[in-house]
């Protein structure tokens, strides 16, 4: 990791966290511990395995081969039986942040309210919180066909600079760099499948942890398959549903040829107030369907409106769930 000049760092910081005082607000927040986790390295999170922390868990009879230093001699004195004291292990936790970089994310929303940008910044905020809590975290960008950019697992508070630097680089390169079809050589599948980028499972987290997915969920299929494979890898999944205001409440009049940005298919619609109303209902139905799908699997579901500024939408996220809290 190369040294960064302070001015470069400042620019990077501005790109990732353009909102004033946002970092200060993030510092006042912490990731909720949640259920016991099984990490790899020692950390601050209570592990689901027994280990060497100070927190007493249970007694068990001594069996040959146990570390004799663990025998509770007081108890032995009273009972004349050797018992081993067991303590909970404390382990660090792994957070895997996945940001949807498909065309439906990168091309929708202007400037600051670009869906992809908003998702990336939200992921950066979550990543910041994770690193602040001495946990591990990685950020991956995936488009329609593959995982296109990846920030490997970072650990420790110092790693946040590396994260900010990398994210700044991605933002600076723009969404075009991550889109699968920018060069036009790759033809997009006619049916969008959420599980395609993760096919084979090599890109999925290897050890238990928390997976945050920042996506609009606009996939024809594959979401359940993705969730299944994540949960099979002992991941707690948090889904942040990103939608833009234009998608929630389109202000359209007249006759439009609606082109699916991912499949390039076109449909002609003559707008009328009735049709717009119907569309709004259909969007709500879609969100409800997603929410039910996730909640059925015990997956947290958050909605984020990209038309709002990040602090506003992030605070709403804070308020609507238990994964992040004020210290």
């Amino acid at each position: 990791m190369k040294e960064l000049s302070s001015s470069n760092m400042f620019d990077a910081l501005q790109r990732v966290f353009p909102h004033e005082d946002w970092l200060a607000k993030l510092d006042a927040m912490a990731m909720q511990g949640g259920a016991r986790t099984k990490g790899m390295l020692a950390g601050k999170r209570r592990s689901s395995s027994l280990g060497s922390s100070l927190e007493f868990a249970d007694y068990r009879p001594y069996i040959a081969g146990d570390d004799i230093r663990r025998i509770d001699w007081n108890l032995y004195g009273r009972t004349n039986k050797a018992y081993i004291r067991q303590y909970w292990d404390e382990q660090e936790r792994s957070f895997h942040l996945y940001v949807d970089s498909s065309l439906s994310m990168t091309r929708i929303g202007e400037g600051e309210h670009n869906k992809w940008l908003t998702a990336l910044r939200a992921a950066a905020s979550v990543g910041y919180l994770v690193l602040q809590s001495d946990d591990r975290m990685s950020i991956s960008l995936f488009n329609e066909v593959e995982i296109c950019n990846q920030l490997p697992l970072l650990h420790g508070k110092h790693a946040k600079f590396a994260m900010i630097n990398k994210l700044s680089e991605w933002i600076n390169n723009g969404p075009a760099a991550v889109n699968a079809n920018t060069d036009g050589t790759a033809s997009l599948p006619t049916i969008s499948d959420a599980s395609v980028p993760f096919a084979g499972g090599s890109q999925l987290p290897r050890r238990a942890g928390v997976t945050w997915i920042f996506s609009d969920g606009l996939y024809d299929q594959g979401i359940e398959k993705l969730l299944s494979s994540l949960q099979a890898r002992q991941q707690q999944v948090v889904f942040v549903h990103m939608l833009h205001g234009d998608e929630l409440e389109p202000r359209l009049e007249g006759e439009w040829q609606l082109i699916d940005i991912e499949t390039s298919r076109a449909k002609e619609v003559a707008m009328s107030p009735a049709i717009v109303e119907k569309y709004k209902r259909s969007v709500n139905d879609f969100r409800e369907r997603l929410r039910q799908l996730y909640e059925k699997r015990g997956i947290a579901f958050y909605s984020m409106n990209c038309s709002e500024t990040l602090p506003v939408s992030f605070m709403k996220l804070l308020a609507s769930g238990s994964h992040i809290h004020y210290r």
Binding site: S192, E255, I259, A270, S282
Partner: protein
């Protein structure tokens, strides 16, 4: 090809509007959206019934279809049964003939008065203020008001319409009314006529482009109509005999009452004789009267029964037929045939030769006309003779010399209709030579007979006196040997002496009788004698072309000639009678009834207005265009 309604071309502007809309019409604008996923539900529903949805979305299409249909309907020119527009042109033909003027209804009002009142009522109540053209019949049909819409003026004109007793040209009036009506688009013709309107069924059936309303007045039932057929008077010595023939219903069980009133020359009734006689079963009753006083003129009047529809013809005026011996001055070298013929005619002949001097005034005062047999040119060269010849009716018989003879061609002789040529034919009559006259000599006269391609006999007025000329010598022809010769001579004499008596006899209204006028006459007029109307105003007697015209209203008139000093120099009496041919005309009621039955629908069709519907269609179209614009504007 015809453009019936060029104004419809304005609808063509609508195409520009439609075109403009299509030019301005938005296409489907491409818009990238994140995914069709969100739209799927909406679009699926739209696609589920796609053909219908497509049409439903194409409101513009619907509107344009409606517009197209409206245009087609407009082209089909729909019409609804609708009363004629109030401002339509009304042509009114009023029959003012004698039959209208003299037929009366139960209240005693004449049909003409009733018809006039009907027209005025129509103006007051039904008239919508449109143009009114008023036509009356007569010798020539007259347009009294043309496209007038001033009620006061129209009513004044209608009130002042006088009956016309002469022979009227009804058919021309009818076609004039139709011609005036067809020249404008919406017209109704109102016929205020009676059943004795002299038009053929063909004329009535002729294509009538406009609504025609027949206000028909029933003809008086002939059976109930008692009328005087003839009234003749004759004088023998001092006694005056009168014969009146009365026509009435057959088997009439009634005593006919006849009064004969005698008037003096001032129109004053002097005596009145009443006669009664039972009606003859045959329907014709003749009264014979032998005790009439000798007076100027007479009026016979059959007291009409209560139901008599036409009391007018129960009265007739009569004059004593004069049985006079005429005196003729015959200037001849000898013409036996002529002399014998004149003798047969009871004409006293004073014979002179062309070498004779002018006869004495005493002699001249007794003669009625002069016959110049082959000596006219010679006499006319002498001033004395010329004066004499100019004062009297003149009958010239030419003796053409060799160089005066016309070249005769082989052509059939032509006999033109004239009083002189009544009962006369040129069949088998040979004329060896005919005198050729200059055109200027021929021009003022009627040619009666053409023989061998040249005029052989002419007649007319010369110096206001009857004038007759045979351009051949009787000796050069076998005419005197023919049976028609006495007839010709009699006609000739009658023609020459016509109007020379104290009485002018009977004439039709508005007729132009042949009158011999006094040489000093500078002006003349008619004055009515009957019914004590001596004080009534004088009626101008001369028409625009200088000939004498009989008065327009039947009655007894005195024809008064005045000299330059305004003194009356001659007064003669004439009975002016109405034209009675109309009364014998067949009734047209059946023809018109059949028209109204068969054409009933047509006339209703004719009285509908198309323009109103077209206006509605135009309004609909404009509304459609407005809607279309709105639809377009809202982008539905």
């Amino acid at each position: 090809m015809h453009w019936l309604s060029l104004t419809s071309a304005w609808f063509g502007l609508a195409t520009l509007l439609i075109l403009a809309m299509y030019i301005l019409k938005k296409r489907y604008e491409p818009k990238h959206i994140s995914s069709h996923l969100l739209w799927r539900q909406v679009l699926q529903e739209q696609e589920a019934n796609r053909p219908w949805q497509r049409l439903k979305q194409q409101l513009l299409l619907w509107l344009q279809l409606i517009i197209a249909i409206l245009i087609v309907i407009a082209l089909m020119e729909p019409a609804v049964d609708k009363q004629l527009a109030e401002d339509a042109h009304a042509v009114i033909l009023l029959d003012r003939s004698a039959s209208m003027a003299t037929s009366v209804d139960d209240q005693g009002n004449s049909y003409l008065d009733n018809a006039k009142q009907e027209i005025i009522d129509w103006l007051e109540k039904e008239w919508g203020g449109g143009a009114v053209t008023l036509i009356v019949n007569g010798e020539y049909p007259q347009i009294l008001a043309n496209h007038s819409n001033q009620k006061q003026e129209l009513e004044r004109i209608i009130t002042s319409i006088e009956p016309y007793y002469g022979a009227s040209d009804d058919e021309t009036a009818l076609s004039l009314a139709r011609a005036l009506a067809t020249s404008s688009e919406q017209s109704t013709i109102h016929y205020y006529i009676d059943e004795r309107y002299m038009v053929g069924a063909d004329a009535i059936h002729a294509e009538a482009a406009n609504a025609e309303v027949w206000h028909l007045h029933a003809a008086p039932a002939t059976a109930d109509d008692e009328r005087i057929r003839s009234f003749t008077l004759s004088q023998e010595e001092r006694a005056v005999h009168g014969f009146v023939t009365v026509l009435h219903a057959a088997q009439l069980d009634r005593e006919l009452e006849l009064t004969v009133t005698a008037y003096n020359e001032h129109g004053k009734a002097l005596s009145e004789n009443a006669y009664k006689q039972s009606a003859d079963a045959s329907g014709i009753t003749t009264f014979a009267m032998y005790d009439l006083p000798q007076e100027h003129f007479y009026a016979a009047h059959v007291i009409p029964s209560e139901h008599d529809p036409n009391p007018y013809n129960n009265k007739q005026y009569g004059l004593i037929a004069e049985d006079q011996v005429y005196q003729a001055l015959l200037i001849t070298e000898g013409n036996l045939f002529l002399e014998k013929a004149l003798q047969l005619m009871n004409v006293g002949v004073t014979k002179l030769t062309k070498a004779s001097d002018v006869p004495s005034a005493e002699l001249l005062s007794t003669i009625h006309f002069i016959i110049a047999d082959g000596s006219y040119e010679l006499l006319a060269e002498q001033n004395d003779w010329k004066n004499v010849l100019d004062r009297f009716p003149l009958w010239i018989l030419d003796h053409p010399s060799t160089n005066q003879q016309a070249e005769l061609v082989n052509a059939a002789p032509v006999v033109n209709e004239h009083e002189v040529t009544q009962y006369f034919t040129m069949d088998d009559i040979f004329i060896s030579s005919v005198r050729k006259l200059a055109v200027t000599e021929l021009a003022p006269y009627d040619v009666l007979v053409q023989y061998g391609g040249v005029p052989a006999m002419i007649a007319g007025l010369k110096q206001q006196q009857p004038f007759l000329r045979y351009m051949f010598a009787l000796q050069d022809s076998d005419l005197p040997l023919r049976a028609v010769f006495p007839v010709l001579v009699m006609n000739s004499v009658d023609y020459l002496v016509s109007g020379s008596t104290k009485q002018l006899g009977y004439m039709l209204v508005n007729a132009t009788p042949t009158l011999s006028m006094s040489a000093d006459t500078s002006s003349s007029y008619w004055q009515r004698l009957d019914e004590g109307r001596r004080d009534s105003k004088r009626v101008e007697a001369t028409s625009s072309n200088g000939s004498v015209v009989a008065p327009a209203v039947p009655g007894v008139y005195t024809f008064i000639e005045q000299n330059e000093q305004g003194q009356s120099i001659q007064e003669r009496t004439a009975v002016v009678t109405a034209d009675v041919t109309e009364f014998a005309a067949p009734s047209i009621a059946d023809t018109i009834n059949s028209i109204q039955i068969t054409d009933g629908n047509d006339s209703q069709q004719n009285s509908t207005g198309l323009s109103t519907l077209t206006a509605w269609l135009a309004a609909c179209l404009l509304l459609m265009l407005l809607m279309e614009w709105e639809v377009y504007r809202r982008g539905i």
